[in-house]
């Protein structure tokens, strides 16, 4: 499990959410984004946007399968690299 704080001004809207889904979909195992009591499938853009994640929110990324650290690190990089 990897923790990441959203720094981008506009939160996880359509553009970052689609980048997350495209990366997560390529990973063969399950990938989840967790905030408080919500745990959603990171391969669903609707689920990600539905969380309404905004600047300052801290989330956890959790993957199953053979190499969870690779996809968790990749998603952390995507989320931290969002510019707006």
């Amino acid at each position: 499990m990897t923790s990441v704080t959203i720094k981008s001004k506009n939160g996880l809207h359509a553009r970052p959410a689609s980048l997350i889904v495209n990366a997560a979909t390529k990973y063969p195992g399950e990938v989840f984004i967790i905030k408080d009591t919500s745990k959603i499938n990171a391969k669903s853009i609707m689920n990600i946007m539905g969380m309404g994640l905004m600047q300052g929110d801290t989330i956890s990324i959790e993957a199953t399968g053979d190499n969870p650290a690779s996809i968790e690190g990749e998603l952390k990089e995507i989320i931290e690299g969002v510019e707006a």
């Binding site: 506009n10 939160g11 689609s18 495209n22 609707m46 946007m49 539905g50």
Partner: protein, 156 residues
């Protein structure tokens, strides 16, 4: 008996009045390259934004510039009002219905003041995107003005 072979289709109406355009013409690569999913877009002529099909409002983004509908079959469609409109932080957008509400096609979910978008140099082009491609076998889009039936989707 014949019902077993009957194709299951879903009709999507244009969620706004205006001209239906090809999604590849949307001035944002996230949508034109179908990164979010396939669909169509609208060049709107007024600010009422409606449910494109019957279902439940799955989500409304906190800034009210995008919402999703999920049908009873689990088909999901996302309506994203304008381009880069997340940057307006909700200015110009008014939420009419809340997530979790059951809606019929044509129910107004958001009202948007298109002039606010124009004054901020934001495109008003509104992509309508299917976010569950695994549910879709094929899609026919009716391009042009005044099509209430914007797309016919054959479901898997």
């Amino acid at each position: 008996m014949f019902g077993l072979f009957k194709k299951k289709t879903l009709s999507l109406m244009a969620p706004m009045s205006g001209e239906i355009i090809d999604i590849s013409k949307v001035p944002d690569a996230v949508f034109s390259q179908k990164m979010v999913g396939d669909g169509f877009a609208i060049n709107p002529s007024n600010g009422l934004v409606m449910a494109p099909c019957s279902g439940t409002i799955a989500q409304v983004f906190p800034t009210n510039h995008a919402f999703g509908i999920v049908t009873d079959d689990g088909f999901e469609v996302l309506v994203h009002i304008g381009i880069d409109t997340v940057e307006l932080s909700g200015e110009g957008f008014t939420r009419v219905l809340e997530p979790g509400t059951k809606v019929q096609a044509g129910d107004t979910i958001i009202q948007v003041d298109l002039d606010v978008l124009r004054n901020h140099d934001k495109s008003t082009i509104t992509p309508v995107v299917i976010t569950t491609p695994d549910k879709v076998k094929s899609m026919d889009v009716n391009l042009g003005l005044g099509n209430k039936e914007a797309a016919i989707i054959t479901l898997n």
